[in-house]
Symmetry: C2
Subunit: 171 residues, 2 copies
Amino acid sequence: MVRRDEVRNGEKTVTMPETPDAGVVFIGRIHSPWTDRLTCPRLGRMDGPICRIEIFEPWVDALKGIDEYERLEVLYWLHQSRRDLILQSPKNDGIARGAFSLRSPVRPNPIGTQNVKLVRIEGPNVFVQSLDCLDGTPLLDLKPDRDLFTPIAPRQTGDDETRNAASGDER
Amino acid sequence: MVRRDEVRNGEKTVTMPETPDAGVVFIGRIHSPWTDRLTCPRLGRMDGPICRIEIFEPWVDALKGIDEYERLEVLYWLHQSRRDLILQSPKNDGIARGAFSLRSPVRPNPIGTQNVKLVRIEGPNVFVQSLDCLDGTPLLDLKPDRDLFTPIAPRQTGDDETRNAASGDER
């Protein structure tokens, strides 16, 4: 069972900074069939239920051209997740793993990312498959799927830079 | 050429909300060869320079187990980007597209995502290839690559839900 808010055997919490370093705005809301974390899919599936991503004003114009892409990347704010648990035990079996080695919603910055299939667009609503988040989840961003997108801006010198093993080009 | 901060012909700005809806913390910093947006790659490449992701305390323990994955997903804060440009003209040719149809750093929530190849880990430093962001970019999150990760938590009912075309299961 996923956690509510308990800390399990072997897990470790830290004290979160009191002030954030930057702020996000909720640009929309995701409507899904799942109203409880205990029934949510652990991972979306491309043949899953059709969910609706509602875009708020003044961001609706930013959808222009998005229908050229069959798949999109969706970023959202995992609003029900605690953020202070850096070691986690997903099976509650005493074995704890680092938050960065999991795709758990519980993380210092609770941002979920998912690749979805675009079904259709109706005004400010984007219908997609493959989401796995709770009904009411705040939306942060939509982008074309990385594998389908070709940069439109002119080339830059960094585009052609490869690793130079001889020079030890590490930063 | 990528933009500095100009607004181009055909582009459209909006007024950003005065107060954010949630806050992010910078959990680390990315060290890359690129110190100017005018030379940065438009898209990272798997044979690109080795970049160093430095994790700050108290988050270093969250790396535990991350070395099991050959590829990681990196989320970062595009700290030099304006956020209010919802229609953009990447070629500066009068043709404007919506911010959500681009992978431009200029977006309401300037969060970049990239899939990278893990080279090695040394203490709080994660060395990777395929990043394309500026030197000094604040880090938001690290996760295992979606395609390599199998959820560890017990199954949930949502895992098996598929689209039911007959019932019109849209939200």
